[in-house]
């Protein structure tokens, strides 16, 4: 079963880079442009992993992670957030919100794939 990944980011080029990297590694990737869309798509189908930006319009990443964790289907689903700096305060907030791990931007595709493999185990 192809692992399905939801990537939530307001930057289409970043989403595309993420999609290309993860699709190339054999994952099925769905994109969402902000927290509202991300939450809606997460409700529509079950993803195995969520990769989300934090700073987004409409609904930011922190709020989206908190809302997702309230859904029983996403209790236990890995959620990785992207952060621009290694901002420890932000990291702590995101982890408190329920995130599984993080990836610091800029990253290369291999780093992303490694993180995906790490949390998905496949």
């Amino acid at each position: 079963m192809t692992a399905s990944i939801l990537t939530v980011d307001d930057s289409p080029s970043l989403r595309m880079a993420i999609r290309i990297a993860l699709t190339g590694a054999g994952y099925a990737v769905t994109e969402a442009g902000d927290g509202v869309e991300g939450l809606q798509k997460a409700g529509d189908s079950q993803f195995d992993l969520v990769v989300t930006d934090l700073n987004m319009p409409n609904m930011d990443g922190l709020t989206m992670i908190r809302e997702m964790r309230k859904l029983s289907a996403y209790c236990g689903t890995p959620i990785i957030f992207l952060t621009t700096e290694s901002d420890d305060a932000m990291k702590a907030q995101a982890k408190a919100a329920g995130a599984t791990g993080w990836l610091v931007k800029p990253f290369v595709p291999d780093q992303l794939i490694r993180v995906a493999r790490k949390v998905l185990g496949r």
């Binding site: 079963m1 192809t2 080029s13 970043l14 880079a17 964790r69 791990g101 800029p106 790490k118």
Partner: protein
């Protein structure tokens, strides 16, 4: 094009972000204390910096970082937004544009940053002007242990709810070296108090091997801050002792199996991932099998009364057919994956042209061979650009003609027989016939004043170098014209048709075969050569009687149920130099609405055709779409239906012109 190139997409997106920043800043000049505007500008700067750094625009990322940092102070309420600050960031925004285009000028950038500093100082603050920090992995080599480590760890109670799977951490440790795992069950509460989603188990792992501490920290990186982890190096003698210990509780890990595990295992059985190239290899093998099978059929038929051979041959024919069909299904993907790429495109075009455009799609579930999808992307981008750029009017123009101010571009797909039909329809101004005519005359494609059927006039847009855009905009009119689109579609053995109603809009129809690799063909003989006509294009077969043949000499038309159909004598076209058979046949083929008859000597029958492309030496040969190997090992050329229909049409035109 932009479909698969993130850097190109970034450039487009950076343009959008710069627009967003500019609009925000301009609005901000009127409402300096509007929090939402401040947030919007900040978010634009933040995304531009982040994405810029991702795609190697380091100078842009660093420069933008300074602006973001300055603006962050405004956002956090540490400094007020001032007109001067807004003005500086506006000019910084223009500089970012140059940085994206690679026209940077260090001095200008420095001058802007100096002004920025001054503006921030004046506003009452000092920005942090450090360069964009990039995380360095925690340095400092920890002591390595040659023999290994004894680890004791306990994860935070909510680790599993937050997506950390302890079993995967154990798997990762196992990847580092031999592991003896023991569960620490001492903290499991009585059943009544047990919170099922929480993690109560700890683990003790003896990891043997030359593993650096940093590798272990990498395993736990996401939970490091909140977990208990104790590591001690294994002494060499301990290692010895350990080998005598009975294999440690493999079952220990099962003490608190996370519910996700069983579900994941069940899911894993449902499907497998296969690299696309293996699918292609398999397709090739199936192709070879189909060829071998048809040789076998021929042998069996020639064997007279060997009923056993015939029944085996029929069995294999059936199996090969089923295998082929199954193979085809494996390669099918829904066109949704193609259509979805165009949402962003239309959005961008809408912004760039200042037109309000809505993209509607239907039939996304229609499935097409994946290689067809890939090769359709570029031509469709071009067609959609055309529709948005040339087809749709500006909101003002639309309002003036009583149309809704939002233009629509409608993509639809459906399957029709062995073809998928994709239409791109806009409700714009339609194709301007006068302009097409003027351009065609200017280019010498038609004589001034020449009478042309409307459909033929529209076909002019497919001529190389033809572009009706009076003004070359930055979207279309870049020289890749409709001729390139047409060629690409035809290389897919597809056809393109255009229809347009002035004032109402245009429709481009693409008809593409569902698959490229194997087709059902009609095998015919012309002279001593055998040829394959794609069966999907064949409408009917009739006899060309001798008298009809004589009567039609020089005209090459037959009357088919009250309509005149041009026909081509393949024997003459291919200069076989043989005498025609007494009873020649006409195979009527069609693309879209146009028909042409092909005169052949004999119709042999249907043939499963594995298409082999022709060598580079033959790329000029337009009448043939490829070749195939026959059951007896001979070779048959596959006729290119679209080309033959074209030739037939030209013949018809010549006849009309001659009166």
């Amino acid at each position: 094009m932009s479909g698969q190139d993130p850097i190109a997409a970034f450039r487009v997106e950076a343009g959008d972000l710069l627009d967003q920043i500019e609009h925000g800043l301009l609005d901000l000049t009127g409402r300096l204390d509007d929090r939402e505007l401040v947030d919007e500008v900040f978010r634009g700067l933040h995304t531009l910096k982040g994405s810029g750094a991702m795609f190697g625009f380091d100078a842009l990322a660093t420069f933008t970082h300074h602006c973001e940092t300055a603006f962050d102070r405004v956002r956090k309420g540490l400094a007020p937004a001032t007109q001067e600050l807004v003005a500086v960031i506006l000019s910084a925004r223009d500089h970012m544009r140059l940085l994206i285009d690679g026209d940077q000028d260090q001095a200008t950038g420095d001058a802007i940053l100096a002004r920025l500093q001054a503006a921030i100082d004046a506003a009452g603050g000092v920005p942090d002007t450090g360069t964009a920090p990039i995380e360095q992995p925690a340095a400092g080599d920890r002591p390595a242990s040659k023999s290994g480590w004894r680890l004791r760890f306990r994860l935070p109670a909510d680790a599993m709810a937050n997506g950390t799977n302890p079993l995967m951490l154990l798997d990762e440790l196992r990847d580092l070296g031999d592991c003896a795992v023991r569960a620490l069950t001492d903290r499991i509460p009585p059943l009544a108090d047990l919170a099922p989603a929480e993690n109560h188990v700890g683990w003790e792992v003896e990891l043997r091997g030359d593993v650096p501490m940093s590798a272990i920290e990498d395993v736990f990186i996401f939970v490091m801050d909140d977990m208990e982890l104790a590591c001690e190096p294994l002494a060499a003698e301990q290692e010895e002792a350990l080998t005598d210990v009975p294999p440690p509780l493999a079952a220990a890990a099962e003490v608190a199996p996370p519910p996700a595990r069983a579900a994941a295992a069940a899911k894993a059985d449902e499907s497998v991932r296969v690299p696309a190239e293996r699918l292609d290899e398999l397709m090739d093998r199936v192709g070879e099998l189909v060829i071998a099978q048809s040789r076998l059929s021929q042998l069996a038929q020639g064997s007279g009364h060997d009923m056993v051979l015939r029944s085996v041959s029929e069995e294999i024919e059936r199996l090969a057919g089923e295998l082929r069909d199954t193979m085809m299904v494996l390669r099918m993907v829904p066109v949704a994956s193609l259509f979805n790429r165009f949402r962003r495109l239309v959005h961008d075009l809408s912004r760039e042209t200042g037109k309000s455009i809505e993209l509607l799609t239907e039939g996304e579930a229609t499935e097409v061979d994946k290689t067809v999808i890939e090769r359709l992307a570029d031509p469709m981008v071009h067609l959609i650009r055309n529709a948005c750029d040339h087809g749709l009017e500006t909101p003002d123009q639309r309002a003036a003609t009583g149309k809704h101010s939002t233009g629509t571009v409608r993509l639809s797909a459906h399957q029709a027989g062995g073809e998928v039909v994709i239409t791109i329809r806009d409700d714009g101004r339609g194709i301007d016939r006068d302009r097409v005519r003027a351009k065609a005359e200017a280019q010498g494609l038609i004589q001034p004043g020449q009478v042309l059927a409307d459909q033929d006039l529209l076909q002019m847009i497919f001529h190389p170098g033809f572009s009706t855009a009076a003004r070359v905009t930055n979207l279309s009119g870049r020289g890749v014209g409709m001729d390139v689109v047409k060629r690409t579609i035809e290389s897919l053995r597809g056809a393109i048709d255009v229809a347009s109603v002035p004032g109402k809009g245009s429709t481009i129809t693409l008809r593409i075969p569902l698959t490229l690799a194997i087709i059902d063909g009609l095998l015919v003989r012309v002279g001593s050569g055998r040829y394959v006509i794609p069966l999907a294009a064949v409408e009917e077969c009739l006899e060309l009687s001798l008298e009809q043949d004589l009567r039609s000499r020089g005209r090459s038309f037959i009357t088919l149920r009250d309509s005149l159909v041009p026909f081509l004598r393949l024997r003459e076209m291919f200069a076989t130099g043989t005498k025609p058979d007494a009873f020649q046949k006409i195979v009527v083929i069609a693309t879209g609405t146009e028909r042409v008859g092909l005169v052949v000597d004999q119709i042999i029958g249907s043939h499963q055709t594995v298409i082999k492309s022709m060598s580079a030496l033959h790329h000029n040969v337009t009448t043939f779409a490829g070749a195939t190997i026959l059951g007896d090992g001979g070779i048959a050329l596959i006729l290119d239906v679209a080309q033959l229909v074209d030739i037939g049409r030209n013949q018809e035109e010549r006849l009309r012109a001659a009166g």
